[in-house]
């Protein structure tokens, strides 16, 4: 693109006023302006907010006890009584799906926050303490060589099934990627002239890290955290689906689908509804991530 400002300004006779040539500029502000400028982020935010509301207000949305068994009313098709049908134990799939939003969102957010914080710590230390860098990064390489789902499976096989353990297992599997990212950012920031200037001015290392390094890791870390949130929700559903995740008594989307597994050819709705909710939620988070990346790093926006 040509840089118009850099061209020599020669005085053309009777140059048309800018207002006649360019259409009037509309500056959009507020919510509409945000949605116009960042459509993907706006769609993601709306969908995610919807899921959050569903998770919070699950008890008031016409649900019944998601664990209540009704053997006489097994595997009913979707109807006025069972909006999403009932499963092999006569439990209301609608109520289970709505309560399932709580588990997925809790796991997604908890893993995103924990993995980011621990990864930030490891990455910063590794980027600043040369003596530790080699060792720490080799350990991270080793962890990254184990496919994340398998690492989570192995960890879950050794601990009791619980939501906390699922969160821990997925967090451990996600940490190396964050640590690598943060270390990369820290190493490139260390070479920046303003960091040299701060060192020359006698600023102490902790202050440099807090003031000059950490704020600059925020943008890439936020984007990464969003993607981790989405991938954590998918891993949770996979773990639950194969029986290595949240205890079967808890209605998580993976568990509901695992319950519907044997009946999928005749009663597909037991799997369809949690599948739609899970995919929509992960889609919301991923759209938010794509939008954040475009907004926070305009240079990257056109590339990926």
């Amino acid at each position: 693109m040509h840089d118009r400002a850099a061209q020599p300004r020669t005085a053309f006779p009777a140059a048309p006023a800018l207002g006649d040539v360019l259409p009037p500029m509309r500056v959009r502000t507020g919510v509409a302006g945000f949605a116009y400028r960042y459509p993907t982020m706006a769609i993601g935010l709306v969908l995610l907010a919807l899921m959050l509301l569903i998770a919070i207000f699950a008890p008031y949305l016409g649900t019944v006890d998601p664990t209540a068994l009704a053997p006489a009313k097994r595997t009913r098709e979707p109807s006025a009584e069972f909006w999403f049908g009932s499963d092999a134990f006569g439990r209301d799939v609608y109520s289970r799906v709505l309560y399932g939003a709580r588990v997925s969102l809790a796991v997604g957010f908890a893993v995103a926050i924990l993995a980011s914080l621990i990864g930030l710590l490891i990455g910063t230390v590794s980027g600043f303490v040369r003596a530790l860098d080699g060792v720490v990064m080799r350990v991270m390489d080793g962890l990254m060589s184990i496919p994340p789902i398998l690492l989570a499976i192995a960890l879950m096989a050794l601990t009791r099934a619980s939501v906390q353990n699922v969160i821990l297992a997925i967090t451990i599997a996600e940490i190396p990627r964050v640590a690598r990212l943060v270390r990369g950012v820290v190493l490139s920031l260390r070479e920046q002239p303003y960091v040299d200037a701060a060192i020359a001015a006698g600023t102490s290392t902790p202050v440099i890290i807090l003031r000059h390094i950490l704020p600059n890791t925020f943008a890439p870390l936020t984007v990464q955290a969003t993607y981790i949130c989405g991938s954590a929700m998918i891993i949770e559903s996979i773990l639950s689906f194969i029986g290595a995740g949240t205890p079967p008594i808890i209605p998580s989307w993976g568990n509901i689908m695992a319950d519907g597994r044997t009946l999928w050819q005749v009663k597909p709705y037991i799997i369809v509804f949690p599948a739609i909710f899970l995919s929509m939620t992960v889609l919301a988070v991923n759209l938010l991530g794509d939008g954040l990346r475009d907004a926070l790093d305009p240079r990257m926006a056109k590339r990926v």
Partner: protein, 313 residues
């Protein structure tokens, strides 16, 4: 050149040693008493002790680890606690379906994803581009088993184009084998295709803005040769990298895909091992898959040398 190849091959040894150390020490770093967890709720204290002895938890870590590593080096991954058979043998029995699934998935995905990415980059911001990229975001958001059930429902149950479930060994003929693998491969490959298509589009966009592409256009080279000879060749390194890294996704996804399509491979073995709390089995499978993953990425690094003659480490 030879020096680089040799060094790169040797550098996988410490990584593999680290992976082995991790996989082994999981038993020790797990919170609580792993022997009690593996034994289950109803186990008597004697059962727990038996398991502790079988896993070697009663002996010092380093002693156990060195014994175990030496055993692994002679391809002995221990004894399955449930069946009493060697883990290596059980894995060998189940390897064909999983390997077939992986090979078909990677082939199909690369053949689909690279042209998709090239077209999207060629017609950037067109409807093709937007549709493809929307599918890519969807690919990252829909779990593999959901795609699997959707495909099985439509193309097997409703339309009856493919067998619903199961696996036919390749020894019984190429077509029956492939027919059984098409739906699982598309399901498993969905996220992989999204990943490769996105990186192909991104690198192609970068390469297409280079001076030598402009020169080629200026001297009248046709668009086809420009895309596939000038541009794609120079975009190959990042694409091949992602093809290698993405294998981690495939390994995790295969476990689930095999369960959806009732394929008797390593994934089923893993799920059975989880249900039976057969830890030596799980340990063996995780170790084997991780080694495969390390070796795939080694292969990718070696391919770099062919793709980009400038690379000299």
């Amino acid at each position: 050149m030879l020096g680089y190849l040799l060094r790169r091959v040797l550098s996988t040894i410490p990584v593999m040693a680290l992976v082995a150390l991790f996989v082994f020490s999981l038993l020790y770093i797990a919170p609580g008493d792993p022997a009690a967890v593996i034994a289950g709720e109803q186990a008597s204290p004697e059962d727990v002790e038996k398991i502790r002895a079988a896993l070697g938890l009663d002996r010092p870590f380093l002693v156990r680890f060195s014994e175990w590593s030496l055993a692994v080096l002679s391809s002995d991954l221990g004894i399955s606690m449930f069946t009493g058979m060697p883990v290596t043998e059980l894995i060998a029995q189940r390897i064909e379906p999983t390997l077939s699934l992986m090979v078909v998935t990677i082939t199909l995905s690369v053949l689909l994803a690279v042209p998709i990415g090239v077209i999207a980059a060629r017609k950037v911001d067109s409807w093709w581009d937007r549709t493809f990229m929307a599918f890519a975001v969807l690919g990252f958001s829909v779990p593999v088993f959901v795609v699997g059930y959707l495909l099985a429902y439509w193309f097997a149950l409703e339309l009856d184009w493919f067998p619903v479930q199961g696996y036919t060994p390749i020894a019984k003929g190429f077509w029956p084998w492939l027919q059984n693998l098409i739906l699982p491969s598309i399901a498993l490959g969905f996220v992989y295709i999204a990943l490769i298509a996105r990186i192909t589009r991104a690198t192609m966009l970068e390469v297409l803005s280079q001076d030598y592409v402009r020169t080629a256009r200026a001297k009248g080279v046709a668009e086809g040769p420009i895309l596939y000879l000038h541009a794609l060749k120079n975009a190959a390194v990042p694409i091949v990298t992602v093809i290698g890294i993405g294998v981690a996704l495939l390994i995790g996804g295969a476990v689930v895909t095999e369960s959806v399509f009732a394929i008797p491979g390593l994934g089923r073995l893993t799920i059975d091992a989880i249900v039976r709390r057969d830890y030596p089995m799980i340990q063996g499978i995780v170790l084997m898959f991780s080694f495969v993953y390390v070796l795939v990425n080694l292969a990718v690094d070696l391919v770099y040398v062919v793709l980009d003659p400038r690379i000299r480490y």
